[in-house]
Subunit: 100 residues, 4 copies
């Protein structure tokens, strides 16, 4: 995403954004998103949207570092998951594939 | 993303995928991504790509639940971050905005 | 905890267990604990106990690295939290201290 | 830990502290600890100590909920790990047990 790339370049932040540091950042922002649900399943949509945006931002940046397209890798992984969770076995169940 | 939506519908998984459970799932998958860097900054690109795809998949699903577009909320948040981290103050520094 | 220290020394693992890597490990194990609750608040006590033990193990190791006693820092922090959450204001509420 | 138990009872917080919510809280606090190492392996000992205390506090509370002693479950798990990582195979290596 070019706007994101320009934003980081202007601030000379690529030096901090190693894949390892981006992976840490994704975990940190994911926990801030989870904090919106810490004590209850109820949530504030505006706050959740902005926290989700933070997770996505670092995900997009890591994808860019790896030279892959976010949408393409989601589809690639979906095919792998499809093989592990056939519709017949998985329908209406939250069990892990090794317990289906 | 329509392929993802169809995948979940076929398996009748929407019942498990409340926003709270998706937020937990994003945190869980983020930690699996981080595990690729647990003992070293070196990494296996193929494994990292697939773990990143898992994080993105749940992020896209949560965005879908909230009725928002992933790219749009990233841009929305970028404008907020831009105001907090002006180029002059932030260039080449990893400090938090309240310490700039 | 001397048994833990001996276990690590025998395996020459201290070289991998920098404070940064221990912090990553605590986050990774915390997510495995959370995974026991991914789709439901119901849980298997035996599995939760063992996942909690993993989180605690790395916490104890980090405490050891910092030269502090786990119980003492919990009590130290409890005093700080006590000042932020006076009984009168906090009773029966899950709000953050800045919203009390 | 009786001081912690009294602290929670006074504030009538047990109602919020289900095992599931404590697992979320442990993951959230672990990420705050990780944030101390987000951009660099260098760290501030005082800040790390207090963030570690937050993780430990929720871990102790979950142990209390499960009716187990934190030190005992760490030792229980250490015996399991000992069997998976024999000294001869594991010495000086960070590989997972299934790759030793």
């Amino acid at each position: 995403m070019s706007a994101l790339r320009a934003f980081i370049a202007e601030r000379e932040w690529a030096q901090f954004h190693s894949p390892e540091n981006l992976a840490k950042s994704i975990a940190i922002e994911s926990a801030e998103l989870l904090e919106e649900f810490q004590w209850s399943p109820e949530f504030d949509t505006d706050r959740v949207r902005l926290e989700l945006a933070d997770v996505l931002t670092y995900c997009y940046e890591l994808a860019d570092r790896l030279g892959v397209d976010p949408d393409e890798i989601v589809l690639e992984k979906l095919e792998i998951t499809r093989a592990k969770y056939p519709v017949e076995a998985a329908r209406g169940r939250s069990a892990k594939y090794d317990q289906l």
